[in-house]
Symmetry: C2
Subunit: 243 residues, 2 copies
């Protein structure tokens, strides 16, 4: 849990939500040749957390994840996938939540539903950095992008969740051809290669990379991009989903 108690006034006892179940979303973006994730910050507590939420008893768990993603970015039709369930009992840590509530002048009873043990379903999303509009929820002060190698200490096991999300992304990058979701609609081959190199954290061979990607037959060439650089202008490519 973290920012997930929107409507807590309307659900003082957690009614209307599936009990003990939370969603945590690792929302990846790519900017300045860096992978970034969306984090919420809580004023006066120095706490940072992943966007998350609870599951209404009228919605699917996957729907709840899409709702969280939409609420924090304004985006729909985004690549979003489960990657792990975090269910260790050692996750149960009421301190950060109490701190957040204390700053807001609330002292919850020890049996408050938000202080119970939660199992969290981890999701990761790949969004176009330029299209997302980071939006804090009702109890956080801001929602911002943080570089992956520049992360603050996060509450609970959220650093671990991000680590596992990244590992999943790395493992799935070639298999599922999902990288494009992190770029704008049109991109150069150089953009794509930088993205892959950043995610996989290793250099790729330019000629081989280009040959491989084009050989997949999933890109169409749209135009040339004049970068202003003193060199040949690269082509722009676009992902074509179906044939």
């Amino acid at each position: 849990m973290s920012n997930k108690f929107r409507n807590q006034e309307a659900n003082a006892h957690g009614h209307g939500y599936l009990p003990g179940l939370a969603i945590d979303a690792v929302i990846f973006g790519f900017h300045d040749n860096q992978l970034k994730v969306l984090l919420l910050t809580y004023k006066n507590t120095g706490l940072f957390a992943l966007p998350g939420g609870f599951v209404h008893d009228t919605e699917d768990v996957n729907e709840a994840a899409r709702r969280v993603l939409f609420d924090r970015t304004g985006l729909t039709n985004i690549f979003l996938d489960q990657f792990y369930v975090f269910g260790d009992k050692s996750r149960h840590d009421t301190a950060p939540l109490k701190a957040i509530m204390a700053v807001r002048g609330v002292t919850p009873p020890d049996d408050h539903w938000l202080l119970k043990r939660f199992v969290s379903v981890g999701y990761y999303a790949l969004v176009d950095f330029t299209k997302a509009i980071p939006t804090p929820d009702s109890i956080s002060d801001s929602c911002d992008w943080f570089g992956l190698d520049n992360l603050p200490e996060l509450m609970q096991d959220h650093n671990l969740i991000i680590k596992k999300a990244l590992e999943t992304l790395q493992a799935n990058l070639d298999q599922k051809l999902i990288g494009f979701n992190l770029l704008t609609d049109d991109f150069t081959m150089g953009d794509l290669q930088s993205l892959y190199e950043t995610i996989l954290n290793k250099k790729l061979i330019r000629a081989a990379f280009q040959r491989k990607i084009l050989g997949l037959g999933i890109l169409e060439r749209t135009a040339k991009k004049w970068t202003g650089g003193a060199h040949k202008a690269p082509y722009l490519y676009r992902f074509i989903s179906e044939k």
Copy 2:
């Protein structure tokens, strides 16, 4: 939910369990050149279900899955992994559970905890068919192996769960080198190839398969196996986990 209400007398209201959360385990075995899964059967109802259970509030979710696996097979130290969370609200179907209870002379109230909506964490396990001892739980009549292409209609979405588990197994087979877990300690190259062919559902080229597997350097040759066949005796191999 399905067979997961052991100790229901001791937990008439589901106390001691994480609410609304279940485990479903797809336990794979390999025998007679066929992939098999363990299923529970419920007498006089014609119902079949995956082994499953609930999570004690004193244990990790992964621990609960290991416990389920141990209770149904007697095995520990088994390959076991999460693969998906089944959390659609459409899963909520009280009919089969009521039928099972009815046969046992119980008519639960509509607000019985077992009749509430459950979110289920899907696990898949790979076990040595010869070592597992299928064991029914307290409310099922038997626990048996069923061939994957010979499955009965299962309760709720359990057929879907198996389908998804198989897809995960197929996708991970080469990546994680987990196939050996389905064989006995010593096996021939032919055994291993049959296993791969069965899981992937396609023919593999014998010479290339053998070269590839041996090239991984993860097998040691132990002895020869006299099969009684009128031909050269194959070697036995064994998986070596660490170097």
